[in-house]
Symmetry: C2
């Protein structure tokens, strides 16, 4: 699939596409001076923009402002702070608007062309002073490497996340890339984290939104770390058209190429996010095949990935496949337990632990070896149809508890 449209993974992230620059600094929202807390991504030229947002009723103030700015027209920049979520604050919207105004002023662009996001503790007031002080430094340090920006949006993430791919549309080389953060409070059915994507492909706003909305069902909405849906999540994509391809205005080959490139980026970001889930020692992927419908396949894969008991068993490298069946049984999909098969797979090999709903006489030694790897695939066959889906998550470790037992302090 990656080669059909000449898709190649390339170096970089949000600045890999033409015309984008980025920066990240410590401005003082966080006490720890060695942790960057303010990020900026800027396009030389106006961009079509599309976004998806958390469906949590409790929403961060920045989401509302970003939504309004996207509705108002083209975007030029994204500003994002970490440390404080700017959610459940009386003056949250005002602070988010003033942040956009300050960025607009510093860049000489309208405030309405700036998207804003925040991530961190909910319910603590976000002061404007450090942001005001940080913006000139942020603008001065803009460069063609998004590493600092990727670092500045991290909260409990342990590694910064960026990825980019190149592909071809009508003989023109285009790039899609992005940065992401997210480690806890991540659960399907919402945008689930912060992801800022950029592309130099020319694509209309409508098709850009269509591509993003169409892709997240099988990517970011299939990712769960802890079952908690954040209040501040969004996936935002900016397209500045500098690749010079004929603008993608409808479905067809060019749109398919763009979708495929976007999907490649998003799946890689999903795996990075899952593998760096709070306290994670392992990346888990559940591949469901043979479901009656796509919805059933997705329900089944998500249920396995979300099960605390499956996650804890994977942490312990314990081939307790009964917990996989248990999670399938309550997932809400139509399935026949007597037809279910389960295989654990990793770099160390694979082991079939359940066939036709009952245990096989598998080697515990081999299973332990397979499950002791860093990346585990749980293959589930439902033998009841043609639909398939994958979901990503991580194991449940002591460190998840340690990280979340005193997040604020």
């Amino acid at each position: 699939m990656e080669n059909k449209y000449g898709i190649k993974v390339i170096a970089g992230g949000a600045c890999a596409a033409k015309g984008f620059s980025a920066s990240g600094v410590h401005c003082g929202i966080r006490r720890n001076r060695s942790k960057k807390d303010l990020a900026l991504i800027v396009s030389d030229t106006p961009c079509n923009a599309a976004a998806v947002y958390t469906r949590n009723l409790v929403k961060g103030a920045p989401l509302e402002v970003t939504r309004e700015h996207i509705a108002a027209g083209k975007l030029r920049a994204i500003v994002c702070n970490s440390g404080i979520a700017n959610t459940c604050n009386a003056n949250g919207k005002q602070v988010a608007e003033e942040t956009c105004a300050l960025v607009g002023e510093a860049l000489g662009i309208p405030a309405e062309s700036v998207a804003v996001a925040s991530t961190g503790v909910i319910g603590q007031p976000l002061e404007l002073a450090p942001i005001k002080a940080g913006i000139p430094v942020l603008v001065a340090s803009l460069c063609c490497d998004s590493t600092s920006a990727a670092e500045a949006i991290m909260t409990t993430d342990t590694v910064m996340k960026q990825v980019a791919v190149s592909f071809e549309v009508g003989g023109k080389r285009c790039v899609v890339g992005g940065i992401a953060k997210g480690s806890g409070m991540i659960h399907p059915d919402m945008a689930t984290m912060l992801v800022f994507l950029t592309t130099d492909a020319a694509i209309s706003s409508e098709m850009l939104q269509k591509a993003l909305s169409g892709d997240i069902g099988g990517t970011f909405n299939m990712l769960s770390i802890d079952g908690d849906t954040s209040t501040n999540d969004m996936v935002l994509v900016l397209a500045n058209g500098q690749a010079g391809n004929e603008e993608i205005k409808q479905e067809g080959d060019a749109f398919d190429a763009f979708m495929c490139a976007l999907n490649t980026v998003n799946i890689r970001l999903c795996k990075m996010l899952a593998g760096d889930g709070e306290g994670a020692t392992k990346l888990l992927e559940c591949e469901v095949t043979g479901a009656k419908t796509l919805a059933d396949a997705r329900k089944a894969a998500k249920s396995v990935i979300c099960s605390s008991l499956v996650k804890a068993a994977m942490f312990g490298a314990d081939a307790n496949w009964g917990r996989v069946l248990c999670a399938l049984g309550y997932c809400g999909a139509e399935l026949d337990p007597a037809k279910v098969g389960v295989v654990f797979r990793s770099a160390a090999g694979e082991v079939e632990v359940c066939r036709d709903g009952a245990g096989t006489d598998f080697s515990e030694e081999l299973a332990k070896k397979v499950l002791s790897e860093k990346e585990i695939v749980i293959e589930v066959t439902l033998a009841d149809g043609e639909a398939s889906a994958s979901a990503w998550g991580c194991d449940l470790s002591y460190d998840y508890v340690r990280i979340n037992g005193d997040y604020r302090t």
Copy 2:
């Protein structure tokens, strides 16, 4: 409420009601000889019976057999093993039926008058031999104390759970009591654990089922330890009528008294189960008031109790109330975040942390003191209606991970 029908908590559990005896032994299903693994509850006389079962599609074979036996007529006994769940086994139903036959033979009663349950690891075969060897000992050790039976059904439970209350119906003293087990794989919307209740009240099968089905919505279905719904859960109640009251055949005062007694027993068992959740260091109760509907109140209370992030914060005695709002925001209930209030309460006092959807200027010192107690109440006011509900759970600790990282080994 407890006094309206002369309800008093009394000593004992499943043998507090007249005519019931019980026993528990180690028969060899478990390797550890000091852990009892087979329990029996017997009534002198035939009982009306009612039950609710897990809604997991993957169901333990014993549930099917118990369902058939309740449909066939009156019950005399309940047999239950721990260690192996007898689920996802090819010969599971046969083993469950033969277990009932062996108990029936030993007690001189029909196999169809015996209910059967199993709890433990899913997908391992359950051998009949140890059960066959254990039943004569089990029958010989029947006595009027259900402690041994309560111990024999324990899995990762750390304390045995039994409770009983007396109450009055038409001048006759009646008793409802029971034993329960359940520590992990516990989640709302299913029967969620094993609970065996007994009563000497005379009540028709229909009204008994009505009482049980009506009660669990606000009790066992409001209990969550880890979000995983077990395959083997049931709540089973036997009524032998030995109290001599006029049989309860319809709604009215006598039925209300029975419902109230049953509710008192079930709420106490819920709190015992939640407080002994796997790895729990604290019992959490979420009291929601001011919801638009009962369904909304229940959704809100369950969502807070189920949130891994709230649970981990409570483990760390961290007053991170933003996570409570986050959980309310994605619970699916109709609510206005700007009206929400949150108070943390315990034996050490109470602290209002959120009013009208925003943080108060609370004392972190007081909050730490309140949250350092063993029983924490999270009071949520939605200020949007008259409905209320409570849910019970526990904190998320290192020990949950330890217990579940290698449950089988």
